[in-house]
Amino acid sequence: MKAWLPLLLRLALVVLLVAFVTSPGWFEPMLKPLTENNAPVIYNQGSLLTLTLLHLRTVLIATVAATIVAVALAILVTRPAGAEFLPLSRSLVNIGQTFPPVAVLALAVPAVGFGEKPTLIALFLYGLLPIFENALTGLTTLPANVVEAARGAGMTGWQRLTKVELPLSAPIILGGIRLSVVISLATATIGSTVAAKTLGEVIIAGLLSNNLAFILQGGLIVAALAVLIYDGLSAIERYAARRMGREAE
């Protein structure tokens, strides 16, 4: 009975989320008390479903790009030939993280214009660090005798990387991607300040018109997405770690 409870809760959350973004009208009575002066209860400048999908798309594109660049960079600096670039790449990625996303947006708009592009740049830069750091940890803390055995068996550098090093560090890299996705899901909302189509639009509309119902529905959808995706990626990570014979942290 108890083991089913978390699964049941997650399932309920999924159902609730899908119902809310497809037929927000059903929930109107619940949110009604949060509005004043007969203001609209459900966001009416666009469909919540479309915004949710666009929000996810933005996060997906940014995370995929950040993953490719961060993992490639981590691989590069953990090879003997690239070892001297390790401090440089570390500080570059750290700068990406220290820069507030709002500042990146402000700087990116004059260069690439309004819309999704500056948001993608901000999310990409912001998402690099957790993935890079985790990939670096994963690739540098491999069990020494396993790597030794791979060399001793006659694997080439590329074979060692693809057959041993990456599969073994996959759980840790996945952990970095999970962190990055959750940060991006939240950060993507501010993309709407530069006219990117994300769920931030709902929240900003609520703030401008002092409509608590808007703020709440935008915020709750983002929160539900974050919780579900975090959960799902954690499960994949645990599965991968079990396959490696390691206990998940």
Partner: protein, 312 residues
């Protein structure tokens, strides 16, 4: 045959292996013994070029080991290390198949070879093949590690303290298994250890290394009888010498005519075991039986004690 000629390895100013030359005959076991930091592991790793020597040549069956790329060389040489180094994300069968897959063997040939080795190592292919290394006991993991090293039928097997992580009982079993398999495949084995007992037991020849130099390279009996330096003598353990010498001989070779009372000892047992049994039970003589159970004669305390004396 492995010919090591004037091999030196230097890291900056530290010389780890210093001008070592030795020849390892085909189908024999050479054991390299030394304390930690003596350069024995580095010497071993230069044979399959996990470490490149600063100077000198290593020839395998007459061919310089630098005549092929390092990874190709390593596919042709078995390599087993302490703590087995199995790939945790691959099943036992996939682990054993590592080198055959790299060599591009056909699927059926790989499966047949994996099954053969697993059966040889008393691991049921059906039961253990699909398991992951962490689901195995330490002794089973070690056996899989050696099976993986032998998978591509290498002529040469390098072993770096392969039994170091095993408890004494499993270690003895693993040593016996290795000797049996070496006889069966005729593999040339070079084994690194810090355990003189293991060296005397396993080696056709023993190479003693100290501070990067090869101090003595000889048959076990020779090392025990005539240690080349005080270092070798310490390593052998002066008080252990007579017993180690006895452990090299079989009871069958020490049989005298006559009869004795009590439980018979098999002719294959070591003379050391026979002496221990005699001393422990307080008897002057033990009957000896052949492999077929027929009595061969007896061994006596006096006879064994004479054999334990320093050879002239």
């Amino acid at each position: 045959m492995i010919e090591i000629e004037g091999i030196t390895k230097r890291y900056d100013t530290t010389t780890v292996v210093d001008d070592v030359s030795m020849v390892i005959e085909p189908r024999t076991i050479a054991v390299i013994v030394g304390t930690s930091g003596s350069g024995k592991t580095t010497l071993l790793r230069m044979i399959n070029r996990l470490v490149e020597p600063t100077a000198g040549i290593i020839k395998l069956d007459g061919a310089d080991n630098r005549s092929v790329p390092g990874y190709e060389l390593r596919r042709s040489i078995g390599y087993a290390i302490q703590g087995h180094g199995l790939f945790p994300h691959r099943t036992v069968a996939q682990n054993i198949a590592t080198v055959p897959v790299l060599l591009g063997w056909e699927k059926n040939r790989i499966r047949a070879r994996v099954d053969e080795l697993m059966t040889l190592y008393q691991l049921d292919p059906q039961e253990f093949g699909p398991r992951y290394p962490h689901e195995l006991s330490g002794g089973q993991q070690q056996r899989v590690g050696v099976a993986r090293a032998l998978a591509a039928e290498p002529n040469v097997l390098l072993m770096d303290e392969p039994f170091g992580a095993l408890d004494p009982i499993i270690r003895t079993k693993a040593q016996e298994d290795l000797l049996a398999i070496q006889k069966r495949f005729g593999t040339t084995i070079i084994l690194v250890t810090h355990d003189m007992e293991e060296a005397v037991h396993m080696g056709d020849k023993i190479a003693v290394m100290d501070a990067g130099k090869l101090v003595q390279y000889a048959k076990p009996a020779e090392i025990l009888a005539n240690p080349a330096s005080s270092f070798v003598e310490t390593l052998v353990g002066a008080s252990e010498r007579p017993f180690r010498l006895l452990s090299l001989g079989r009871v069958r070779d020490a049989v005298e005519n006559g009869a004795a009372e009590g439980e018979a000892i098999p002719g294959d047992a070591s003379q050391r075991d026979a002496l221990a049994e005699l001393l422990w039970t307080g008897r002057p003589a033990l009957p000896v039986k052949g492999a077929d159970g027929k009595p061969l004669g007896r061994v006596t305390v006096d006879g064994l004690v004479k054999r334990a004396a320093r050879p002239a």
